[in-house]
Structures are given as C-alpha cells and as structure tokens.
C-alpha cells in the first residue's frame, strides 16, 4: 500500500510533500560539530573546556536506504543523531534535508519541518508519557501538524497505524505501563509514523528489549520501510543488528566517522584498525567460532571526549600505529581502492592500504594512562556531584 492512501488526500495533493527519487541524497551532513562546554565556577560559570561529542562529521543518507551508525558509548553517535534532527544545537557545520538547510531553521518553521524527521528511542518506557493513553500519544503529533482536527476524525488512521505495527485496536485505550517492552517499542514506532515522516532516526531501537523480542522489532522496521518508503538512520552499538538492517554502515570513534561502506563490504573487509578490533570483539552465539577465532583485544579505554588525543583519535589504542604521523596528523575520511572492496569504501586511516596488504604488522600497545588536565578532571568530578539529588 502506498503512503498516499492512508494520508488525507488534501494534504498530499498540495505537492509540497511529494517524495523524490529513491537513491538521491536526502540528508547531507557537512563538517558537523557539536561541542558541549564544560562549565565551572562559584558565582559565574567559566568555560574550562569542551566535550567534543561530535567533531567534524560528513555524512550522506540516501532516500530509501538504511544507514547504520555503530560505535561504543561515548563516541557521539547519539549526539550526532540528535544534531541531525536539530534536537541538539550544533556548534559548526550544516545539515541539509531534502535540499533545505535545517541548521538555519528556527522556531515555527523548524517545528513544522519536524514532521518529516522522526525519532525512535532506546527506552520504550521512558519515551512514552506515562500519563497519556496510547490514543492521545498517537494523536498528539497529528494534531500539532494539522493532519487531523480531532480524535474522532483520527480514528481510522489510528487503527491503521496500530495494525501497521502489529497491535490490536484495543491498545488505543490503554496506558504505556500496561504493555510489554516490545509492545511499547511498537507504540513508539507508531508515534513516529503518525506524522508520515520521510526520515526516522532510530537510536538503539532494540537494545533495551529482550533477545527474543529484538528480532520482532527489527523485522517490523524492515517491513515498514518497504511499505512506506522510509529512510532510516539506525544508531546502535550491536554490530550484528546493524549489519542485519543496514544498507550502508558508518563506524564512529570519538566524535568522528572512521570508516564507511556498504554493509556487506564493511563486515567482510574491515579496513580501519578500530573496525577490525570491534568486529573481532563481538561474541558470536556459536561455540566453534568462539573457540577458534582470533580476537584483537584493545588495551585501555576510550579516551575522554573532553580531551581527545591529537592526530588520529585512535592512535592511543591502535595496534598498527606508526611513528609520528598517526600522532600528529588527523586522517580524513577518504575513498580507498583495495582489491575486494567496493568502490565506495571510505576509511580514515593513513595506512589503510598497507595494513590491508599486511605490509604493516600489529604490535603491542603500551597501555597509556590518560592524563587529563587537572581542571578538567575536577570539572568532571563536579558533574557527578551535581547529580546527587537535592534533598
């Protein structure tokens, strides 16, 4: 069924929301940076540093595809997702959606534009207002965008939405706490669909769900994409999930994308040392694979995004690190041509070719303890102290 059929005809007919061709660039992110100031001070806050959550990301998402963004916690993938939706102010750079710059939009224009960009959250309970029935949760967005006048008129569409996500109409009168986790996530997806968006940013859509339920939601997302021609940006830490649902995958490390390619290509031929380590670390539910495979154990932790390493962000943990260049010069995301990879494989590593050919061999990494400036460490301590509730 096409989207137009479920949409009030008058709205669709205006032509301002007709969809472009599949495959053209829908979201274009250029050099996006999101830096959060770290403030300290007794009376007046003084900025003592920044958390470089997203630090120069270029990213294109094509219409109708699923772009998977993987990375570990603290790499800035969630912040990037929110910055694309303009839910987080960006420090620098632009986000262009369907030819229109979102970064310049504000106020009412932005609010109206939000109809095209929706979000699905990690925590299905926390993302649903516990005081609203499912009906009022689903109607809210439609009312805000004038898609329906009142709840009565919305009823056919509400039932359609629920059946799209596999729930019976009886769910309308219920409240979020009366559902199981998977059902709640379905409601969250129905809410995102309610305003008929083009892009859905799904931030860890299945990580809070039980294993057996995860697969239900993954299948549902795939079905809905097919039915409504949706474009997805799926943010997740689970590499297997991302591989399964994505057409293209970007790997993030400390605020930047280090590798990007078609999903199959990326998983078959990981070029960046970090991607290799990440893939080798994923536990596989097969004892034979677990017993025989080679693990690249990275030493140490993710450095603090408030004090990222110079040069290549990964050089402090990289087993293939080379003298001076890796420490000094930040590698740009570049197209590489290596046998066996597709032509669109991008990687941010100075020595990708040499590592792939085996010219550079891995070596032991001296575990470095991170030495943050004293002020920054204290500032982070303060943040924790601030979390202690006021009593």
């Amino acid at each position: 069924m096409s989207t137009a059929a479920t949409e009030p005809a008058s709205d669709r007919a205006k032509g301002d929301r007709t969809r472009g061709d599949k495959g053209e660039v829908l979201v274009d992110v250029q050099d996006l940076k999101v830096h959060f100031p770290i403030k300290r001070g007794i009376i007046f806050d003084k900025v003592v540093g920044h958390v470089y959550a997203v630090d120069g990301v270029d990213l294109q998402i094509r219409r109708g595809e699923t772009y998977g963004l993987v990375g570990e916690s603290g790499c800035g993938k969630s912040t990037l997702g929110r910055a694309i939706l303009h839910l987080e102010e960006s420090t620098e750079g632009t986000v262009t959606f369907d030819g229109q710059s979102l970064t310049d939009l504000g106020g009412e224009d932005l609010r109206k534009r939000r109809r095209d960009l929706q979000m699905v959250f990690q925590d299905p309970m926390g993302s649903l207002d516990p005081r609203q029935s499912v009906e009022s949760l689903l109607v809210e967005g439609m009312k805000a965008h004038g898609i329906v006048g009142d709840a009565e008129a919305a009823m056919p569409r509400l039932k359609q939405l629920l059946s799209d996500v596999g729930l019976p109409a009886a769910a309308l009168k219920k409240y979020p706490h009366e559902f199981s986790g998977g059902q709640r996530q379905r409601i969250g997806i129905a809410r995102a669909l309610s305003v008929d968006p083009e892009l859905i940013v799904a931030d860890e859509p299945v990580s809070a769900l039980d294993v057996s339920v995860q697969a239900q939601v993954i299948n549902l997302l795939a079905d809905l994409q097919e039915e409504y021609g949706l474009t997805y940006l799926v943010i997740a830490h689970d590499l297997a999930v991302v591989r399964h649902i994505s057409d293209r995958v970007g790997v993030m490390y400390l605020g930047g994308i280090v590798e990007e390619s078609d999903a199959a290509d990326l998983y078959a031929n990981p070029l960046h040392p970090y991607t290799r380590a990440l893939l080798s670390a994923v536990p596989v539910p097969d004892p034979d694979v677990e017993d025989t495979r080679e693990q690249i154990l990275l030493s140490g932790d993710l450095p603090s995004p408030a004090n990222p390493p110079s040069g290549c962000r990964f050089h402090t943990r990289c087993p293939w690190r080379q003298e001076s260049r890796c420490d000094d010069e930040r590698p740009q995301l570049r197209l590489v041509e290596i046998d066996g990879t597709t032509g669109s494989h991008k990687v941010a590593c100075h020595y990708a070719e040499q590592i792939a050919s085996g010219e550079i061999q891995p070596h032991d990494v001296e575990t470095q303890t991170e030495d943050k400036p004293k002020e920054l460490r204290e500032a982070e301590g303060d943040e924790v102290a601030d979390d202690i509730p006021f009593t």
């Binding site: 039980d210 670390a281 536990p283 539910p285 154990l297 932790d301 982070e380």
Partner: protein, 350 residues
C-alpha cells in the same frame, strides 16, 4: 595488543566433586494483598571448581533472583526460599545473616551488572578493596594496601598506585567493572557469581573483561556462575549452559551440543532470533512471538506454550517434567526433533 586464541581443549572439570550444589531452589515472593509469585521454581544445578556454568534467559526468567538467593541477598521479608544451596556440604540457606556476611567476599564473590551503583561513591577504590581484605582476612590497613594494589594490577587496571586513591566516578565503566572484580577476587573466593557483568559495557571492553574472567577461572580454579542474556557471551565462556524460562530450567547441556542442536523450542527460538555476523544479512529473522507477559502458569501447562511454534495441545494441559539424558536436561513435550518429557505430577515435585 594481545591476539588470543582460546584453547580449544580446555581442562574438563566434570570429574571433580561439585563445589556448589543447588537443589530444588524455589523462591516465592509474596506481597500484601497479592497472589504469591514464584520467581524461581525447583532449580537444581552443580558448579565444580574451574567450571563455568551459565544461567541464560530473558528478563523475568529468575536468573538474577537465583544469584541473590545463593548469596543470601534477598530481602528478609516478603519472600520464601526453599530447597538447598550447598557449598562444600554446608547449606547456605540455613546460615544466619552474620555467617553469610562472613562467607560473602571470602568464599563467594559477586560481580554485578552496574559497577557504578555497586561501588561506594564516596570511598576511594583502594580503600574499598582493602576493606574487604581487612574484613575477611583480618589484615591491617597497611598490610592490605600492597595486596589491593596487586589485585588492581592483576585485573588489568593500569597505574594502580594512582587508581587506589581515586573515587569510582573518576574511573571509566570498564575500569569500574575491573575494580569490582578486584574486590570480588581480593580474598580469592572459590566461587564467583557474575550477574550480567558485561551488559553495561562496550564490546571492546566486554572482550577484555571476558578474557579476564576466563583467565581467572583457569588460573585460580575458581568456579564461576555466569548469568547473562547474551548467547554470544555464553557460547564463548560457559562449559555448561542452563536455559531458564519463567523461573524453571527448560534445557541444560554442554555448550557445543546445546548450541549446535538445541532441543527446546525456546533455546532454538533464541538462537534463530539473533542476527548473526556471518551468513546472509538480508535473510529475515525468525523471532519468538509475544513476550514473557504471555506466559501460562507452570502449574498446569508449559509456560512457553503460547509463544511456542512447536506447541501441541498437551502443552497447554499438562506440565512437562525436566528429564535428564546423559549431560542434557530437557523440559518439553514436543522438542525440536527429539525425546519428549513425560508430564510432571505435583507429587513428583514435592
């Protein structure tokens, strides 16, 4: 960097005497004005020194309650625990609170999912480790300090001298989990219970922690109970796997046969619903329908029946019994190509 290839042929601990022996463990929660809720129902398993036993299942399957019951950490009121938990022939369920406190940390160590809330935020890491040593080994604070330093070093915390004086919030998630493991291991317990120890961690850190646990089990001959929902973790770490559903054991087996040839439809469903890193990515996943909210009561049926693709009429009318054949235990009337369980009568259970 270390490139590790886990040994394929591990020492087989199965011949040894069990260190911990859980028999018919049943935990019932009772809240005022509500019907009692049986969280763990007749669970039995053994753990031998140097063996890793996995308890696998989804939320609500009773795996965490089991660990708390073994540790004697369930609240004093509102629940009843029956059955027996024998450590070296001593039933832990009959011990007093004080005796259990002496045992925890010295003979049994525990690692929790969330390292930040398991550590005291206002006490330095080093102090928290030395406290364990002072409490259980009767060491002085001074003599405990080098031991604590050694422990932190052993679990892979770099620059342990500095870390000793730091507070939990100054450490990263992986470092905190290591600190927690250092605390659990400080007194060289013979038994370690890890409740989702890597769930809150990233994959690269998870790999480090799992490698560490594997090493400890082998080196110190510790018995490890690994509680997790992650089948990948189980496949790589556990010798014996217990699959729990709705508070009862539904399948048990050594990891190789269990993963290659799951008999219970739930085990099979779990395995087929996880996307894999190999194989065809476009292939549709095969989820288990519904959620644990759809369970039937075990007392008159198989709890999994409503979600089960293999369910037959009998599954909704009788309770299947857990049947052992060799090393495998199965509770199912209509397993995936195999031997069915007989029905379980109430008398059998009591």
């Amino acid at each position: 960097m270390t490139t590790t290839t886990p040994e394929t042929a591990r020492r087989d601990p199965r011949g040894a005497e069990p260190l911990l022996s859980v028999r018919d463990l049943t935990v019932t929660f009772k809240r005022q004005g509500e019907d009692p809720f049986v969280a763990v129902d007749g669970l039995s398993f053994d753990v031998r020194p140097g063996q890793t036993v996995g308890l696998v299942g989804e939320s609500g399957c009773g795996k965490s309650v089991t660990s708390l019951a073994i540790m004697g950490l369930l609240p004093d009121r509102g629940n009843t625990v029956t059955g027996s938990v024998e450590l070296d022939g001593r039933d832990l369920l009959t011990l007093s609170n004080k005796q259990m406190r002496d045992l925890r940390g010295s003979d049994i160590g525990m690692i929790f999912q969330d390292p930040l809330s398991s550590l005291n935020p206002v006490v330095p890491i080093g102090r928290q480790v030395t406290e364990v040593l002072e409490r259980h080994k009767g060491m002085s604070r001074k003599s405990a300090k080098p031991v604590a330093r050694e422990m932190l070093h052993k679990v892979g915390i770099p620059d342990p001298d500095r870390r000793l004086t730091e507070y939990p919030h100054q450490l990263s998630g992986g470092m905190r989990q290591r600190a927690l493991i250092a605390m659990a291991l400080a007194c060289e317990p013979r038994m370690l219970i890890a409740d989702e120890p890597t769930t809150a961690l990233d994959v690269t850190i998870q790999a480090q922690i799992l490698a560490l646990l594997r090493e400890l089990v082998e080196e110190m001959d510790t018995a490890l109970i690994m509680i997790t929902h992650d089948l990948g973790v189980v496949a790589g770490l556990c010798d014996e796997v217990n699959v729990l559903y709705g508070g009862r054991l539904v399948e048990r087996g050594d990891r190789h046969p269990l993963f290659h040839d799951p008999h219970h439809p739930y085990t099979g469903g779990l395995l087929s619903s996880v996307p894999s890193l190999e194989g065809d990515a476009a292939e549709r996943l095969n989820p288990v329908p519904g959620s644990v909210a759809d369970n039937l009561p075990w007392t008159s049926s198989c709890a999994f029946a409503p979600r089960c693709s293999n369910a037959i009429e009998r599954c909704r009318e009788e309770t299947p019994a857990a049947v052992a054949s060799g090393d495998r235990v199965l509770r199912c009337f209509n397993p995936l190509g195999g031997q069915a369980s007989p029905a379980e009568s109430e008398e059998d259970r009591r």
